[in-house]
Symmetry: C2
Subunit: 458 residues, 2 copies
């Protein structure tokens, strides 16, 4: 996974010929691959004294583990000939039917199981779609900020990412239109818009109802393909699931779904819903990549949907996440110094926080870890090195008390930075690099420019 | 998966703009994707009256399903926090340790778990390696015939496959050297040799001991990287496992392993063993592709290796496959008309059969299916349309009696072809197209030429 950021501390594997005798024979795409900001945190986050607001791990222990365990055990004992055997590349037909039932909850009522491809998490779904559509140099439009795993996929495909700004109501249609016009003027081949309409990762915002229609209209007008990535759609705290973009247009929208947040990420079961011609390409691509998805995990999900109270379980999950969201927002409201702002998610896992002017979340990170709190620096979510003043806070995994303690620690770290900052104001000590070298600014009115700078900097 | 054959009946999705409005925006690689000969047989093979000698499905029902079922059930009930959660991109450390134990059986005693990347089947391992090394137009050397799934990977990467001939002792070192010299003369960028040294799919032959050393020496002399794909190495009928190429050279050989044939393909657990610098690239590539392999299936394999008699189970599998191999060879000896020849595997799943002169396995296929027997036509295993006179017979899945019946039916079909053939000899009726339009000939002495013809024909 790679955020594709040109940050000097990004974790590039040494490519010195003496260290790697094969250095001269990698593919072009390989040279751009960098470790993501999230992976860099893995070792930190597993230390018990650190409160991690960094990871996006769902609260799987809230599942009825005994029931799920015996269900899966029986699938092996009773149906080993199927569950332990190779399956079809497109995925188990029974599961694909149940997936259509799940999508109906978001207004997608015309999907046929034949249009569904089961994938190894929705991550593989996005990789397949990108592989099928993108040649090197093609442009992908994506929200700014955007999901770090998606940026890694686009970078591996050597596609150029052009960010389109969002605000509290999600992606801004006018900005999308402007981006399309500019790409047209530049002669850029825009392959698709990648968007996370619900409870955005990392921004925490949701695309409003009128904007959904506006974006589908723009897609129609500009002959734009839309990739709708929706792992969180059923995890709303305040209202029923919103109608998917795919429910409004079945030909221009390719939909990505996942059981990672509604059931279990460790099973790695996601899916793509695509028009038949695209579906056929996706099946060929997945056969070349993995032959077929694991049979056991597919049967496990299908059986879970058939026999367990999965809708009630999703309610239970959302109750739990709502509590954690509340703990997060209450602590932020109570403790954060002035000048700090953040989004107010009504579903999903994430809050997107903006530091007071002049602070840099990446430079601050070691001090936060020293203070035993972890977050993901904002630069991980941009393909162009923007986002230094932002961070992502995840409330999905820690208990409310841990969250409160984590936010308390974070507030203290930010306050200490501000103190230092006012002492050394505007002096480029290396500590406040953002002051001496301002990060690119992002406002709702600005299009984030051509985002392939990472490759030239690598 | 795609064999990349330019056969007129290959299963190409229509790309007419009226049928697919997105036809003009696929990536270059997508246009070359075709369905494999094996997938085309799926529907046929599932009809109960057909004896399928086509599929490569292991005999998973020979596993102790109850024991495996309760083992996996307990992994979920007792360790759901781990087995249902996201894991690391490189794969579970405990499993990577056990994988090193497994590889020690083939003489790989210096492997460290840190050099292992767990993959979604070894198919994903090969895809990752290819993605990390191959740009479009790069050359991959591979045995002729070669594994159909590998050809699909190379085609998806837009690499050109150059076949190197084999005989009963496997890949021919002199032919490899000649291929390398010719590529050098042509200015081709050879990225690696892809080879299946043990119980080759589809050829059924094994690389002899002296040739193993010869190939490693050539790799050293020509600065060649070798991808050793070894899913069948532990499934020998006559002797202990042979020493892997990787055991002879740890820097020039990247090793691919799989639990698909020794335990279960439905779990999709394979691995890559690679020098650290390559390993790091592979981890970045797999994170972009799937984030991480499924946790549950990895824990299942690790626990299986820890607690179940897996070596005895492999013995049981090989006994069973040996019986089936015997049934196959005995029936072929007894029933096949003169002029038919075949390999005599001493392990693995496959026999590679050559039809009497003038017959074409692909054209004969509908008549075989009418006679209720299925095989895979040889052209699926070449990137250049060769192999029409060959077919692959798999003995892994049917019971010995079914195998005998299948071979009986096949012998009758071949005899009927021969009769017709002698009646209409050399008349191009459309039925015996191979007579009017001879297939490319392959002998052990001929290098199969530049193999990208499939792309120009598509
Ligand atoms: C927006 C988004 N898309 C996709 C994914 C990947 O999910 P999966 O586990 O289904 O691969 C995530 C996971 O965090 C995500 O946040
Ligand atoms: C030579 C070879 N390599 C790789 C594979 C793929 O195996 P896996 O199930 O591990 O992806 C197969 C499966 O038939 C094979 O025969």
């Amino acid at each position: 996974m790679s955020p594709g950021s040109p940050h000097p501390h990004s974790h590039v594997v040494p490519r010195h010929p003496r260290l790697d005798p094969l250095a001269d024979r990698y593919a072009a795409r390989t040279h751009g691959m960098k470790s993501s900001e999230i992976r860099a945190l893995f070792s930190v986050v597993s230390r018990p004294e650190v409160v991690s607001l960094a990871g996006g791990m769902p609260a799987v222990t809230a599942l009825p583990l005994d029931a799920v365990g015996s269900m899966i055990g029986e699938l092996v004992s009773g149906m080993g000939a199927q569950t332990l055997q190779y399956g079809s590349g497109q995925g188990d037909p029974r599961l694909r039917e149940r997936i259509c039932d799940v999508m109906a909850l978001e207004g997608i009522t015309d999907a046929s199981p034949s249009e569904v491809v089961v994938t190894v998490g929705s991550q593989q779904g996005l990789d397949l779609v990108t592989r099928v559509f993108c040649d090197p140099g093609d442009v992908v439009l994506a929200e700014g900020p955007s999901y770090v795993g998606a940026l890694g996929v686009f970078q591996a495909a050597e596609a150029r990412v052009r960010h389109v700004p969002m605000d509290d109501d999600g992606l801004i249609p006018e900005a999308l239109e402007q981006a399309l016009l500019e790409c047209r003027a530049n002669g850029d081949r825009v392959k698709f818009l990648y968007t996370v309409p619900n409870f955005h990762n990392p921004a925490g915002v949701t695309l409003s109802e009128p904007r959904r229609q506006a974006i589908v209209d723009i897609a129609e007008r500009y002959d734009l393909l839309v990739i709708e990535d929706n792992p969180y759609g059923l995890l709303g705290f305040e209202h029923e699931p919103m109608r998917a973009l795919r429910a409004r247009n079945s030909q221009r929208v390719v939909y990505l779904g996942s059981f990672s947040k509604t059931f279990s990420p460790g099973l790695r079961v996601g899916w793509v819903l695509a028009p038949l011609a695209v579906r056929e390409k996706l099946v060929l691509a997945t056969e070349a990549q993995v032959l077929c998805p694991p049979s056991l995990t597919q049967y496990a999900v299908a059986r879970y949907l058939d026999t367990q109270p999965w809708r009630e379980q999703i309610k239970l999950f959302t109750e739990l996440y709502r509590e954690r969201r509340d703990a997060t927002l209450e602590s932020l409201d109570a403790l954060m110094p002035p000048g700090t702002t953040w989004t107010r998610p009504d579903g999903g896992f994430y809050v997107w926080l903006k530091l007071p002017h002049g602070l840099d979340s990446k430079l601050m990170q070691p001090r936060a870890v020293n203070a035993h709190v972890a977050y993901v620096p904002g630069i991980g979510f941009y393909a162009d090195g923007a986002g230094r003043e932002y961070m992502r806070l995840s409330y999905c995994y820690p208990e409310p008390d841990q969250i409160r303690e984590g936010v308390r620690r974070l507030a203290r770290v930010i306050e200490a930075e501000l103190d230092l900052h006012s002492t050394f104001d505007a002096v480029d000590t290396g500590t406040f690099r953002a002051v001496g070298r301002p990060a690119p600014t992002h406002t709702a009115e600005t299009i984030v420019g051509p985002a392939n700078s990472d490759r030239s900097e690598d």
